[in-house]
């Protein structure tokens, strides 16, 4: 049940109305929980088991940490084992066995190993990380263990964030689940407008760009350098619109129920260096890795080479989180190298003198280059794309003027927002005009088949 579908709207609106009616009663949490599980069951009812397993397991481990502090390491270990075990079994088992077999083949051994054709529960990477962050926070004493299983289950399964995040921290959402949040006209207006902005990003922008990108990336050898370059830029925008649109819809739906959830994107393509990009892109995940991997590794309070290592390891793991393929690992590695280069350049006087727009353009181009590995189906395809671009191979090409103009308009909006001229965009006339245009674009261009989100597969 995709957020941008009629079926979601048909189910969500009565649910939101019922929730608003019952939110001051004891039925609030059971209703939210039932709604979340029903929503998840719509994707695949078998996956509900794993959601319940992770919830019950981490609730128990959290209670264990609070009850028996001496054994808290064991409880944390149990939580990590449960979450990473489930995640690895479904997401990484085939990748690990394939690579092990390749290694063994090089050593002359060819054992017969069956391929595991298991269904990957949708949103698994998101809710395991969400639940794991809770046990880590309880372990480090940042959070009291939740006593109410119903409340904890409602936190893990909170349906607006269940399928593809944002990965909300327990410290932010559990207090909001403890008491009925006030629900005013402002919440409704903000929620509806954020949700519709997300719909615009997904059904108008991302899907339109996908129609240009997909044929090129499906057969890169058949296209020339210009088409490959154009499709690579288009993908940079497609993935931004796709994922930030999804995050907006999740935030908007949550806000319509009275919840204020984390902002997952902050105009990433106006970033002035790669570290800045990661402060703006998928913020809930990058902050997760910062708090639970980068800082425990030593963070930036180590000698320079160790800091580089910490950054690189964090980004490689982040790449692996996105998908069980070497292309994702290389994508993460390139971003790690970019982050290290950014921090090193920042120390140089000459780099400080480069004008901000030039830096923004350089970062956008670097990020676009790394997306090639993210989007390509294989290494061969990624190198085919890069070869085609850098040798400027001849081939059929047309410039998708309308999608490009729309993406440029959005970029301009974001650049102005990030500049001193922001008050222009805050003017009511500008806001009404921008939102009305977005709504009309949804009504005219939004009709058609609903396509799944890119990040849904992770």
């Amino acid at each position: 049940m995709l957020f941008q579908s009629w079926s979601f709207l048909i189910c969500f609106l009565p649910f939101a109305a019922l929730y608003a009616l019952l939110r001051r009663t004891r039925l609030r949490l059971p209703l939210l929980l039932a709604g979340s599980y029903a929503f998840y069951a719509c994707w695949d009812f078998r996956s509900v088991f794993f959601l319940a397993l992770i919830t019950l397991g981490d609730y128990g481990f959290g209670r264990g940490i609070a009850a028996v502090p001496r054994a808290k390491k064991w409880f944390l270990g149990g939580s990590l084992l449960l979450n990473l075990g489930v995640l690895c079994s479904f997401k990484y088992l085939n990748f690990i066995t394939e690579n092990l077999l390749l290694l063994l083949e090089k050593c002359g051994v060819t054992p017969e190993v069956p391929e595991f054709d298991w269904l990957l529960p949708v949103g698994l990477s998101f809710f395991t990380f969400k639940s794991m962050s809770y046990t880590c926070d309880v372990y480090f004493g940042r959070l009291h263990a939740e006593r109410d299983l119903l409340r904890y289950a409602a936190y893990v399964s909170f349906f607006p964030q269940l399928i593809a995040g944002p990965i909300e921290r327990a410290g932010s959402l559990l207090p909001q689940l403890r008491h009925a949040m006030p629900l005013a006209g402002n919440d409704f207006a903000a929620g509806a407008s954020i949700f519709l902005t997300g719909v615009f990003k997904k059904v108008v922008m991302a899907d339109m760009l996908a129609a240009y990108v997909n044929p090129v990336y499906d057969a890169p050898a058949e296209f020339g350098g210009a088409a490959l370059l154009c499709a690579s830029y288009a993908f940079a925008w497609q993935i931004y619109f796709d994922f930030s649109g999804l995050s907006d819809m999740a935030r908007g739906a949550a806000r319509l129920l009275g919840f204020r959830t984390v902002l997952n994107f902050d105009n990433p393509y106006v970033a002035v260096d790669v570290r800045d990009f990661w402060r703006r892109w998928h913020i809930s995940l990058s902050s997760w890795f910062r708090d639970y991997l980068y800082i425990p590794l030593g963070g930036s309070r180590r000698i320079r080479i160790r800091v580089w290592w910490n950054v690189l390891v964090t980004m490689l793991v982040s790449g692996l989180w996105h998908g069980a393929a070497w292309t994702f690992i290389v994508w993460g590695g390139l971003n790690g190298l970019g982050s290290i280069a950014s921090s090193e350049f920042d120390r140089k006087a000459w780099y400080q003198k480069i004008p901000k727009p030039v830096k923004q353009l350089l970062v956008f181009n670097f990020i676009t280059l790394t997306w090639v590995f993210f989007r390509a189906a294989s290494f061969d395809d990624a190198f085919e794309v890069l070869r085609g671009i850098f040798t400027w191979r001849a081939g059929e090409f047309f410039f998708p003027a309308v999608p490009a103009a729309l993406a440029a308009a959005v970029w301009l909006y974001q650049l102005v927002w990030a500049s001193r001229r922001r008050p222009i965009l805050a003017h009511p006339v500008a806001r009404v005009a921008a939102f009305a245009l977005a709504l009309l674009a949804i009504l005219v261009l939004g009709a058609g088949a609903n396509t799944p989100f890119i990040y849904q597969q992770f």
Partner: protein
């Protein structure tokens, strides 16, 4: 790495205040409600010649159908409603039954062709209900094609999944049609197409101007100049079929004999809708005459043929019992059929000749 706090709430998505949202909604609603009537007023009318029929490309353009039905009813005394047999499959515009009748009557605009390829009775019920409001006070020739009752599958009374023509015209929330297994999204979308004028108009744009392609996909798949160049800014004319009027017979095409079970009228979903169409047309002041079509008898086994003839007799008796005038079309010679239900050009001629004898146009003009 990222941070969770101190990020402005609306840095990346528009978050509006209630008044601003209401104002925006009012602006958008005004445009959406106003655009369809404005466009209908500005729209170029289809050229209605005596041999007019809807373009095959526009068979799913129901908003266009409403507009065209209005124009046709303004200019013709009688109209034919039906499926591809009346529309004139395998022949050009001049050789359809209504066109042949018009020619025989001296080239007058006597019989209008409001048939659509694949229009089975269940779809017809919605079409007439939602888009056929202009068909009022007319002599209506309503074509009944036994093909739609030859199996539970075509009759939509079976339970096996089946993709029938005109799914957007099916009753979207009638769960008794088990063979229609569209998603809730598709059902809601089809329902909204009927309720929201602008959505039906978007389908019209796609069908009439964009070769049935989605505008979003078209903008991304073609250069901007190409999009404009390939747009047709008028109704597509009734196309001339390649190899029209020269199609092979069913035997030459190698179609084997069939043994159809046929669904009894009392159990038939399609016939239930057919009855509803008659009632609806009559309520709008139309005089309805049912044209009983044939199903290639040469292509059926003797058992199938017996069931078919029994069904036809039952349908004719029921309609006659209800006081509906019936024109019982004759079975054609084997070489006049192209397939199970479509005649070849010679067959259309035979049927038109037969019908001409049954019609009294001067009387038909006045109801």
């Amino acid at each position: 790495m990222g941070k969770l706090k101190n990020i402005p709430d609306n840095a990346d998505a528009l978050s509006l205040a209630p008044k601003t949202l209401l104002l925006t909604a009012a602006v958008v609603l005004g445009i959406v409600l106003g655009i369809a009537p404005w466009y209908a007023g500005k729209k170029q009318d289809p050229v209605i010649k005596p041999d007019f029929r809807l373009s095959h490309d526009l068979r799913d353009d129901y908003w266009g159908y409403r507009h065209t039905a209005h124009k046709v009813c303004e200019q013709y005394h009688s109209v034919f409603i039906g499926d591809s047999v009346i529309w004139g499959m395998y022949v050009d515009n001049a050789h359809t039954i209504p066109a042949l009748l018009n020619q025989d009557l001296g080239g007058e605009k006597e019989f209008g062709n409001l048939a659509i390829d694949g229009l089975h009775p269940v779809a017809m019920e919605t079409l007439i209900d939602c888009y056929g409001g202009a068909i009022r006070g007319k002599q209506v020739y309503l074509y009944w094609n036994p093909l739609w009752m030859n199996t539970p599958l075509y009759d939509l009374s079976g339970s096996k999944e089946f993709s029938i023509n005109h799914p957007r015209l099916l009753p979207q929330f009638d769960w008794s049609i088990k063979s229609y297994r569209a998603s809730l999204d598709d059902r809601a979308g089809a329902f909204l197409d009927r309720v929201l004028e602008y959505r039906a108009m978007l389908h019209h744009f796609r069908a009439a101007f964009l070769d049935n392609e989605d505008l979003k996909t078209r903008l991304a798949k073609h250069p901007a100049a190409e999009v404009w160049k390939r747009c047709r800014f008028s109704f597509a004319p009734g196309e001339k079929h390649k190899n029209a009027n020269s199609r092979a017979t069913w035997k030459q095409a190698g179609i084997p004999q069939q043994d159809w079970p046929f669904v009894k009228p009392d159990n038939s979903r399609q016939f239930r809708s057919f009855r509803a169409v008659i009632r609806k047309l009559q309520r709008r002041g139309n005089r309805v005459r049912v044209v009983l079509g044939t199903l290639n008898p040469h292509m059926q086994t003797p058992e199938s043929l017996a069931r078919y003839r029994k069904l036809r007799a039952e349908v004719a008796a029921e309609l006659a019992g209800a006081g509906i005038e019936v024109i019982d079309l004759p079975e054609l010679a084997s070489e006049e059929y192209a397939d199970a239900s479509h005649p070849l050009a010679a067959g259309y001629r035979t049927l038109a000749d037969f019908m001409l004898k049954q019609l009294t146009p001067s009387q038909d003009k006045k109801i």
